[in-house]
Symmetry: C2
Subunit: 398 residues, 2 copies
Amino acid sequence: MPQISERFKNIPVSSIRKLSPLVAPLKAQGIKIYHLNIGDPDVKTPEVMLEPLKNWQENPIRYAQAAGEPAFIQALLKYYHQLGFDFLKSNDILATIGGSEAMVMAFLAVAEVDDEILVFEPFYSNYNVGAAVSGVKLVSVTTSINNGFHLPPVGDIEAKITPRTKAILFSNPCNPTGTVYTKEEINVLVELAKKHNLFLISDEVYREYAFDNKVPVSLLSYISELPDRIIVLDSLSKRYSLCGARLGVLITLNESLMQGAIKIAQSRLSGGLIDQVIGAQLTKVSASYISAVQQEYQSRRDVLYNELVKIPGVTAYKPEGAFYVMVSLPIKDSDDFCFWFLTEFHPNNETVMLAPGSGFYTTAGMGKNEVRIAYVLKEQDLKRAVEIIKLGLEEYNK
Amino acid sequence: MPQISERFKNIPVSSIRKLSPLVAPLKAQGIKIYHLNIGDPDVKTPEVMLEPLKNWQENPIRYAQAAGEPAFIQALLKYYHQLGFDFLKSNDILATIGGSEAMVMAFLAVAEVDDEILVFEPFYSNYNVGAAVSGVKLVSVTTSINNGFHLPPVGDIEAKITPRTKAILFSNPCNPTGTVYTKEEINVLVELAKKHNLFLISDEVYREYAFDNKVPVSLLSYISELPDRIIVLDSLSKRYSLCGARLGVLITLNESLMQGAIKIAQSRLSGGLIDQVIGAQLTKVSASYISAVQQEYQSRRDVLYNELVKIPGVTAYKPEGAFYVMVSLPIKDSDDFCFWFLTEFHPNNETVMLAPGSGFYTTAGMGKNEVRIAYVLKEQDLKRAVEIIKLGLEEYNK
């Protein structure tokens, strides 16, 4: 019998999804699960974006243009211009099948097989699969809950740079930590990129979600300093609650990089036509939609944080953006703890699904006492979920 | 300035898409282009598949299940059961983002970097990009227009098998040749797979399109002989004119292979939710839809073939399936010829877009006098397109 490839066997399991097979049997038993494991918001998609469905006329469902439907690209361009990045032209923007495709394209573009990309752990665990698929090695610089997962001293970052390092990858606001990097921190990364001749890859899918009047610094504001070294990954999934419409974006002014990305886009022929028609509606979404969602997440953040820190032994910090928090719990093995909720602990036929912390680290042993919580549920549900976590900790630690 | 990776620079251009940048300027000049270069059918999508759009209620547009929405998977299962493959279970089927994603998954699954996959040239040119992205080497066994691109003697195939060969990949009915392999030919491949311990990857997206009462042999009919070595790639794009709904399928009974594919699927979180709701309607499409489309393509095939062979110096064979034909023209460089139509030859403000043959071969120099024609236009348009080709040959060869 032929063997599947080692690289395929070694693909890591998505930390966010690895408990998924337990869900259906639980639901069949009538057990309610509070999904804190994945950033699939319950916030409504703007109705104006769904209008094209009701009025759909086009038939057949033809291929979309490989690099993105012109109307979608123009809408994106308008959006970025309104953010102040008026240097962007339509050729600098590629519509991808979710941010995930943009990520894989970026990895392939900057690194040969076995080259290295620096990341700050804990980091979005699906970067691991993108790296495995593209044969790239992610090298982690560890950040700490003690300073809200902000960047460590520059020397700690520089110590991880080798001749094989090709890029620094970060998400800002950060998934899974909710950290919003300061301008000074981004400056440090920009200087490192200049000094060591690296690409910078900034995942900005949570751009709109920063709290307490913080404004995340887009890497696009550094374009004049690093015109050829900046890659921005973006997505409409979180911004407009469009997770199931696969609408990602790759932005770069590096023309040879864009040419390569377009060749990949052409080879898969097309992104979703209907999804892109929905995406093209983005300029019709009112500013009040975004500000209301921001406010909603900030309130949820406050509820979640306030409830969590009441639990004895729980350490958290107030996330500054996105809709996640990494929480330290008084346990030794969060993989086991998260599994236990789904398999054993169902008070009043309810339980919680959490993302085990270890999946967001590459350093062995890190994150074993941490979980990531996505606060994508209504406040009342969040409160109940935290109660279940509290009860669970009491029971689990008996 | 940091360099993009060599592997990214070396991604081949899709033969089908490489002339695309010339299209928009031509259209802006009011020139009509007959698109024979790409299999984007003008046949209508069944209305029953578009009904969910008009009645769309779900909000937010949540993530679809990573391995496929249950309703879509169940509909696929019913479809394959009706084809007679009633051994298939839902776990054997993964919904992918187009057939393209299934292809890349298959390449990663069977081969390490620099391992080899055998293909029969001319082959679907996007396999080249999938191979480049996954670091796999495609090794070509050349087939000939003289026998309608059927398989060469087994010795010619076996001569290309090395210790690094991990799989044989073929499409049946074949894109770009329209060849439908006989049962005897598939038997040969199955025996080779057994003898040399190889995977077989069968791309069956044109399954429904075989003419003159031919019935393509699905690799699934060999499942009892090779339960762990069969991978079938499929797609709804052509079957239901749903190219812009990214609905692909990976089928395998190899459990460890499926587990790896699911890990990749989880890492990109979701395919398109709306597309999959459309896809789930497939069991509601009447049998008469498919038979009418079959008949339509067969008639187009006849018109195209009959008109083409009237042109002096043109060699073609009658394609047995799919909706493509590779045509030999009395020219030396079809890349130049195809470019010339778009840039210089516009009789009555019309021209044709063809796919140059060389892109479907890996052997240097092959296909330079061939083009691929997709007969996805109405008969009248096909006739006019062939007239333009005839006029073009006269002018080009003056």
